[in-house]
Symmetry: C2
Subunit: 304 residues, 2 copies
């Protein structure tokens, strides 16, 4: 998207505060009272982040889960969310009720209150894409709050679970004309991602760097390496995948899975079952090595 990177750079330059790392792919972290506030805001737009005819209940769930996943990567416990909701003008058969049902389910599942927000009218332009926003507010459970910039040479790189399930899910959605009833199990990872809040809180005291895998394990690992000033070497065969083996290369480049990716000392006793997928090295010629070489085959993940 033309100009996006320049725009983000301009926004980042606006914010002299280091907390401004919370733009697009990270949380803002700031002391408040005697505790530490962790904040994130993500938007979702129909056609870009969800299918225009997707069940609004699933859209609501995903909006909540993806924002809470950002808190999970900080070891933060959610204290509430604010919703920005653009009305659909009755585009859906059930009006706005399916969205409310999905929101209710997600908030109940994560025991997070809806604190407030804003609703705006259906746009005057017919079939204009719906835009949604969610702000998630969390409380740090461990300080210093894990960033993506703390990986140290000698650390091991870990992931909490398999990647590629959302890719399979989206394919099943498209094949099934977005009717999840035709393949509920296959599509679930795409429709109803899980925010690993308990895992994030348990891991936070043990990690040097942590992030959620929203855009693909290779791309996100590369971001961690750049932020930390190290090189990260990934063993592709070690990465757990939810796809057939012949699609491993794709699974490593696909986002939307929301596993936690973290660097921790190789001998750390971790409280969560995780898989070691690589090693943190001193900064070399490139930030990311895959099986000892620069990864080939196009983009490392989903850039947005």
């Amino acid at each position: 998207m033309t100009g996006e990177f320049a725009f983000i750079a301009a926004l980042r330059a606006l914010a002299s505060d280091p907390a401004a790392r919370g733009l697009n792919d990270d949380c803002a972290v700031l002391p408040f009272g005697g505790e530490v506030l962790v904040l994130t805001h993500d938007m979702m737009v129909a056609g870009l982040h969800f299918l225009p005819d997707q069940d609004p209940a699933d859209v609501a769930w995903k909006l909540v889960a993806t924002n809470l996943s950002d808190l999970a990567a900080k070891g933060a416990a959610p204290v509430g969310v604010l919703l920005g909701y653009q009305l659909t003008g009755g585009r859906f058969a059930g009006g706005e009720e399916p969205f409310v049902a999905g929101l209710r389910a997600a908030l109940a599942h994560y025991r997070v209150p809806l604190l407030g927000g804003d609703t705006v009218g259906a746009s005057a332009i017919p079939n204009a894409p719906q835009a949604l926003g969610l702000t998630a507010i969390g409380r740090a459970t461990h300080t210093p709050v894990p960033g993506r910039d703390g990986a140290i040479a000698g650390d091991a790189l870990y992931i909490t679970g398999p990647v590629g399930a959302a890719m399979i899910g989206l394919e099943a959605m498209r094949a099934g004309a977005t009717n999840p009833a035709r393949a509920p199990k296959l599509t679930e990872a795409y429709r109803r991602p899980v925010a690993l809040l308990a895992e994030g809180i348990a891991l936070a005291p043990h990690v040097h760097a942590m992030m959620d895998v929203s855009d693909g394990v290779l791309l996100d690992a590369r971001r961690m390496a750049v932020a930390s000033g190290v090189t990260i070497a990934i063993d592709s065969a070690a990465v757990p995948i939810a796809t057939p083996e012949h699609r491993r290369a794709e699974a490593l480049r696909w986002g939307d899975d929301y596993q936690l990716l973290f660097a921790a000392p190789a001998n750390a006793q971790l409280p969560v079952a995780v898989t070691r997928i690589g090693t943190v090295l001193a900064q070399g010629a490139v930030p990311l090595l895959l099986d000892g070489a620069v990864p080939l085959g196009g983009p490392l993940g989903y850039t947005h």
Copy 2:
């Protein structure tokens, strides 16, 4: 907008927490770390909240100022904002740069840091309206934090300044083909509203109820009366207006002025120059009286 009220009611029902009053027209207020956090989130959509060809610098300013105005009404000091920004796909000659310039100006004016947020791609639908969101985070400077529900019979009703300036400004914008250079002074109130943060902080210890006038002084006074379980009587001639006298009735029904409206004891020594415009009475047959009668002449203000 069909279904909007049902939708908002459903969202409110979702939130068992009283903090959920922060939906559409109020802030969320919650204890955090020994202090009190005040949060608000507003969306703005092109064609609904700003003119599609309006200068993006003014749009950015208004997005910041209107959210900070919500904090002002709580006597809260802002600690930061999160931005949700939908790219325009280069629709504007200067790309996204004018928006960044306006955002920079507003943040510098109010000395508020940009903490983070999200940018999303320009939609695949040509000319789809741009949707923006802003979350403002504040720190209460006085507790209990003023609500809109605390007005007491016997209180006087006050306003911090004139209404109607934004109405005149929007008319001038439309007449000038949205080019503010043709009438910069007239259009300023509409383009660059002011959040009365210092006034809100100074008044908070003295008021029983306070809100900002975003949708019209009559409509917002009625909301305060309903929330407080009282009747509010306004003397229309006492309301300061920024319009010619013959447009007084309109000025009382127009929003976007962001003055603070508050109820305080009639003998209170107030630290800010304000105008008394009415009296809080015990709950009568109707929540709002204008010059002793039920207001006639259509909607009381801008409902959205």
